[in-house]
């Protein structure tokens, strides 16, 4: 036993002796995930960007032809512009609604739940143990003309005829998306609230603030990162969501991702689909940047 330990020790010592600079060691550690990221993220994105600059038909010799035509089409065709605007609009609205609803929940868990904190966090994630598709489908059941909500309202006698407008519109899409992404908004806000130093809140009260003033002057500014993070985490993926619009949105609720899917699928126009994808990425990136700048401006107002 002692001998083995001794050998192990010396082998470890030898490993430690290999002279590696801090940077080289860091690079070595980062290599596997870096390679993974490059392979699975950067390469496909570059491929899509490349594809978006090609023409649909190869030239007479069968070579790819480079072209801006796809972008010209995306940024001039009212159909695509409309879809793009709607998608970004929906994603911003969903992000804002989700964050506004998530904040009180996160606040409750961080401040009021006491020793049940971890149970609450677990409960919040429970709906996400089922697949996204199933959750969207169950919303369809809930919102349908003879769905759960209408049945209950009819049964209680509050309405005589079922609502028809619950499904297949933008409102329905927003509702379902907001629910689907709730947990991703709650968690970053929760983390920023838990990290908030309680003595700062006590100091604010001590210096005369009531609950509302204290929230606006201390709690909100100091959890701003969590709020902005939550906005991003909800906004960016919802802009590209296509399951919910297909199942819930009807023809008024379809989004840009449905069009992208169509181009890569039925329409079989990959370059156009790629140009739509890149344009969506840029637009949503711009919207995210705008939110960051606005949040920073708002943060400076706190006093």
């Amino acid at each position: 036993m002692g001998v083995i330990e001794g050998e192990g020790g010396s082998a470890l010592a030898k490993l430690g002796n290999i002279k590696l600079s801090e940077a080289a060691r860091g690079l070595a550690l980062a290599m596997p995930p870096l390679a993974y990221t490059l392979l699975l993220l950067a390469v496909p994105i570059l491929a899509v960007i490349y594809l978006s600059f090609t023409a649909r038909e190869p030239d007479a010799d069968g070579n790819m032809v480079m072209s801006f035509a796809n972008y010209v089409r995306v940024w001039t065709d009212p159909l695509y512009l409309h879809l793009l605007a709607r998608s970004v609009g929906i994603s911003v609205i969903v992000a804002v609604i989700t964050v506004v609803l998530a904040y009180p929940i996160a606040y409750f868990i961080a401040f009021e739940s006491g020793k049940w904190r971890h149970l609450w966090i677990l409960l919040i994630t429970v709906p996400f143990w089922t697949s996204y598709l199933l959750r969207v489908l169950s919303w369809k059941i809930a919102l349908g003309q003879s769905g759960a909500i209408n049945s209950i309202l009819l049964w209680t006698g509050l309405i005589a005829t079922p609502f028809e407008g619950l499904l297949y519109n933008i409102g329905a899409v927003v509702t379902v998306l907001a629910h689907s992404y709730a947990v991703f908004a709650i968690l970053p806000i929760y983390v920023s609230l838990v990290r908030l130093d309680r003595s700062l809140l006590e100091a604010a009260t001590d210096l005369g603030d009531g609950a509302v003033r204290r929230f606006v002057r201390i709690t909100l500014p100091l959890t701003q990162r969590g709020v902005v993070g939550a906005l991003m985490v909800v906004m960016i993926p919802t802009a590209g969501d296509y399951v919910t619009p297909v199942l819930i949105g009807g023809k008024d609720g379809i989004m840009i991702a449905n069009q992208i899917q169509a181009q890569f699928g039925k329409a079989n126009n990959w370059p156009l689909g790629a140009a739509l994808s890149v344009s969506t990425m840029l637009t949503i990136g711009f919207a995210a940047l705008a939110i960051l700048v606005l949040a920073r401006k708002a943060g400076r107002l706190a006093r």
Partner: protein, 361 residues
Amino acid sequence: MNTPIISIRGVSRHFGAFTALDNIDLDVKQGEFFSLLGPSGCGKTTLLRMIGGFMEPSSGKIMIDQKPMDGLAPNQRPTNMVFQNYAIFPHLNVADNVGYGLRKLRLDKAQFTARVQEALERVGLSGLGHRGGHELSGGQRQRVALARALIMQPKVLLLDEPLSALDKKLREQMQLELRRLQRAVGITFILVTHDQYEALSMSDRVAVMFKGRIAQVAPPQDIYQRPASRDVADFLGGMNFIEAQIEAEDALELKLASPLTGPITLARRDGFAQGLGKATLGIRPERLRILGPKETAPIEITGTLYDKVYYGEVTHYSVAVRGNTQPLQVAVTNSSGGPELAAGSEVKVGLDRSALVLLAP
């Protein structure tokens, strides 16, 4: 005129089955620098937080400025707090931190700036108003916290170990500054500390607490020289304890006998209802001296030197004496080149009668 600014009656605080504060009675005078001193976990912070309104007593009453404070939030009390970690708002600059409580008054900009400026000057931070709240040193944070609380013009300023995060030198400097500041503004200060030197050097009066109870409330000299109990004596620096017998007592005096000192007569202390029998006497180490061959003292004890520790300005000698299980601790100031004493040598320890304190059992 002499009504107390804070009056605490029968205040207890329980956490579940644990009693953090047990039936506290305490008065703090207007304009006083008052310290709560005690070991960790004795309930100092709990008491301070209840005065500030951050916690409610389980039972009992707290009056500030003759008004009952039951159920009043911190922002409804005439108190302000300097928190242990200072609680500087990191997203605000120094001026906005200091002026935080003024915003509600909706002063115009010039007035606001003037008051903040005045507060910053008072704590020696003028010119730092634009510095970010997260870019300050420990001492600067402490000053910002002070200025921020004082600008509210509270009747009572509560300070929870405000100096414990500072290094020794800065701490000593801030002790002087705090004391000077308190005199200048005339506001009642209540300071929580577990550092006896801090409490002694700064306070008008000190309350010594143990395990949720107040053991003694007195001015620093009294606390140090005439501690009420063994615990208090022990907590405020070293103390030699000598077992003795009380053999006779009358209205004025107690006659004691101890194998170490022989028969002694002590003046009776107020409030000491001690019957005949066993008693404990205390002597501070610096009230003992090592006698040279020709020196004498009112009380002399012979023993064997068995250890000494050199601290620069003082040397601590341990002298084993017959009749006491603990060796006597003698602190000798290294002012004059006294005799070099070697461990194992016979020494004579001398003291005055006034050095002896009778401690509550």
